[in-house]
């Protein structure tokens, strides 16, 4: 899991430099999710991204949620457990399902 730890170090560096940062972590997957549980995406207030929670399909939606959590301080549990036909709307074309936990780095 060294890649997820590198994301944490990057997030810590952004935070130390004074930026607001949120962390998104895959906490559960079903089906053909490209990244396993524990995969992390860090998002900074200025829009910098490190790591990933999918093959790139849901990062945009997760980054939006991350900005909300940065502002509110309230964690969120995002559920991308959606049907295959709806998957196209957020770009989860693989048809996998996953839950992503989003928290602020305080």
């Amino acid at each position: 899991m060294s890649d997820s730890e590198d994301v944490l170090a990057t997030a810590a560096a952004w935070r130390a430099a004074g930026e607001a940062v949120a962390l998104a972590t895959v906490v559960e997957t079903w089906g053909s999710s490209p990244r396993p549980a524990g995969s992390r995406l860090a998002v900074s207030a200025s829009g910098r991204l490190a790591g990933s929670v999918s093959g790139g399909c849901i990062e945009g939606a997760v980054a939006d949620a991350a900005k909300q959590t940065m502002a509110s301080g309230t964690p969120q549990l995002l559920d991308f457990g959606i049907s295959d036909e709806r998957a196209w709307e957020v770009g989860l074309a693989c048809g996998g399902k996953l839950k992503v936990f989003v928290e602020k780095l305080s």
Partner: protein, 234 residues
């Protein structure tokens, strides 16, 4: 995540200490195990997640928890500071392995050839024994010289490392098997050695051979069918 939790996670990483981050998904409350005292079911799930190196979910008193293991990196011990090693080391680092290169020949194991890599110049049996390969370690011998490879293999075979690979043709390996048998290793123990090293991708160049070796290490680690091959006739 609080600054305290983040600092504790970073400290564990620096000390190469395995820890599990436990997060209550309803409100983001977090504990770091084993530092923090937690209810027994959480502690058991944390220990299991670290042993399996896989994240897990647990429901405790109606609350969903995420169990996130943070293990120190897997290790790769490369014996022989040769050309193939120069290609293998950065690939293995990119895959998340902590790499050490062992070669008593100081002309080969130089910082210029292996920038930023831990180099050990002791004789290979002492060096491998001192590194104490564990179940999260792989050992690859690349010197092609029995004087250097054999003592390293001897030490690796007495460890519980998850992968042992040895460079050399089938013919070279047959002679190696005879020597290791003579040295007292059982056929079962010797069968742990992957030789000729690497998945058979018809590799020719040093980087291609390095790729085949790293692919076999990963396949073994992940339990892929590709990592299993019939034992060679000695």
């Amino acid at each position: 995540m609080t600054p305290e939790t983040l600092a504790a996670l970073e400290a564990a990483k620096a000390a190469k200490r395995p820890v599990a981050l436990l997060t209550r998904l309803s409100d983001g409350t977090q504990h770091l195990w084993p530092e923090a005292e937690v209810p027994a079911p959480l502690a058991e799930a944390a220990a299991k997640a670290l042993a399996d190196d896989a994240a897990a979910n647990l429901t405790l008193d109606g609350e969903a928890w995420f169990i996130h293991p943070h293990n120190p990196p897997l290790r790769l011990i490369v014996v022989g500071a040769v050309h193939i090693a120069q290609a293998l080391v950065p690939m293995a680092q990119a895959a998340g392995y902590a790499v050490t290169v062992v070669d008593p020949r100081r002309a080969w194991a130089t910082a210029e050839r292996f920038p930023g890599i831990t180099l050990i110049h002791e004789w290979t049996d002492d060096a491998v024994a001192a590194l104490a390969p564990d179940a999260r370690s792989a050992v690859v011998t690349l010197t092609h010289d029995p004087k250097l490879d054999d003592p390293a293999l001897d030490a690796a075979l007495t460890s519980d490392c998850f992968y042992i690979g040895a460079l050399g043709s089938r013919r070279t390996h047959a002679k190696r098997v005879a020597r290791l048998t003579e040295a007292g290793h059982s056929a079962e123990a010797i069968a742990r050695i992957h030789a000729p090293v690497g998945l058979n991708i018809e590799a020719v160049t040093a980087p291609e051979i390095a790729l085949s070796i790293l692919a076999e290490v990963v396949a073994t680690r992940r339990g892929a069918a590709l990592a299993r091959r019939p034992a060679l006739a000695a």
